[in-house]
Amino acid sequence: MKGSSEHGETSKAPLGRGVSKGVSVLDLILRFIAIIGTLASAIAMGTTNETLPFFTQFIRFKAQYSDLPTLTFFVVANSIVCAYLILSLPLSILHIIRSRAKYSRLLLIFLDVAMLALVTAGASAAAAIVYLAHKGNVRANWLAICQQFDSFCERISGSLIGSFGAMVVLVLLILLSAIALARR
């Protein structure tokens, strides 16, 4: 029994190690993609600034992301997640080099889950506000401000894409970490 288990282990070992290294490398690549997504979203939302050439009695003529507190939360959340992902790159590289790290993988899963909740909350709240800005609300008598601020609306709509992409990437990262844990 001992001999057969040893034989099985040595025949499976190179393939197992290769798959583990592949999983860790994929983890690192996905982290880079998520960093780019959150950074692009934060910058695109943070540099919104539109001034209309005219103004009427009821609508102000300047729009920035800081006029809507939810968009401020979006920028802050994306910045935090981007900083976390950059700080977790060394840990991910460590997992490529040393496949046996268990506690650091557990810590990484926990932090990834927390950051997933944060980025999802930020992206979804901003999406709700962007939807309100596009369509308004008849019942609450809220005007659709996109009819005046075209480029501002386009900017804030487009910056949501990077954040939602980073959310999907984070789900994949959690799945990869769980698979790496289960293979031990």
Partner: protein
């Protein structure tokens, strides 16, 4: 001389104390060993009689986590169901009627609340369906594939619930505070009950998200052991 004698005088009592403590530890060691072997034989003889949770080793740990997992799922089911029902029945008619305001507010009027209701209902349904799988993980702690599937589904549903809670929270915030730049009036000043209901539902949804995070962490711990 006196200083030389004093430390010498102090040293033997300390040495005597040390030897006394070491002799006492030597004295206790055999009894500890006897006690340990007695307990070991007791546990071996009575292992079949021990309840499911108290068995030692990785299996007992996984079973313990599994029971906590089951209980947390029931709690999260309660929270999401309460949030969904609270939003669905939030219907307020005002007695006043002005030229600009409609006097009737329902969750239908806000797409964010509709999404919130649907997401909470989906999360509650998922939690009910995952209860048997969680129970199976308690009874058969060695199967790792079910835990991995549960972890993945928990992650997706947690993200959905967080998204719905955040969208509803954004709308509730605008309803409470309004927005000066966009000329959005805070409607909560008129619709008190509607605002209170939906705010409470948002809090319940975020509590459920917290419970989900704990569930995912426990599943990862159980997979690791």
């Amino acid at each position: 001389m006196d200083g030389g004698k004093a430390p010498v005088a102090a040293a033997p009592p300390a040495a005597a104390g040390a030897t006394a403590s070491s002799s006492s530890s030597y004295a206790t060691a055999p009894t500890n060993g006897n006690g340990a072997t007695a307990a070991g034989s007791d546990s071996k003889a009575g292992r079949r009689g021990l309840p499911l949770l108290l068995r030692s080793g990785a299996d007992g740990f996984r079973r313990c986590l599994g029971v906590i997992d089951f209980l947390l799922r029931v709690a999260a089911f309660g929270a999401t169901l309460a949030g969904a029902i609270s939003t669905g029945t939030a219907d307020e008619r005002l007695s006043v009627f002005t030229q600009f305001f409609q006097f009737h507010a329902r969750f239908d009027d806000f797409p964010a609340f509709t999404f919130f209701l649907v997401a909470n209902a989906v999360a509650a349904g998922y939690l009910v369906l995952s209860l048997p799988l969680s129970a199976a993980c308690v009874l058969r702690p060695k199967k790792g594939g079910a835990r991995l599937l549960l972890l993945l589904c928990d992650t997706v549903v947690m993200a959905l619930l967080a998204a719905a809670g955040a969208a509803a929270a954004a709308v509730v915030y605008v309803a409470h505070s309004g927005n000066l730049r966009a000329s959005w009036t805070p409607i909560c000043m008129q619709f008190h009950g509607f605002c209170q209901r939906t705010s409470g539902a948002v809090v319940a949804a975020f509590l459920a998200v917290l419970v989900f995070i704990v569930l995912i962490l426990m599943a990862a711990c159980a997979i690791r052991r």
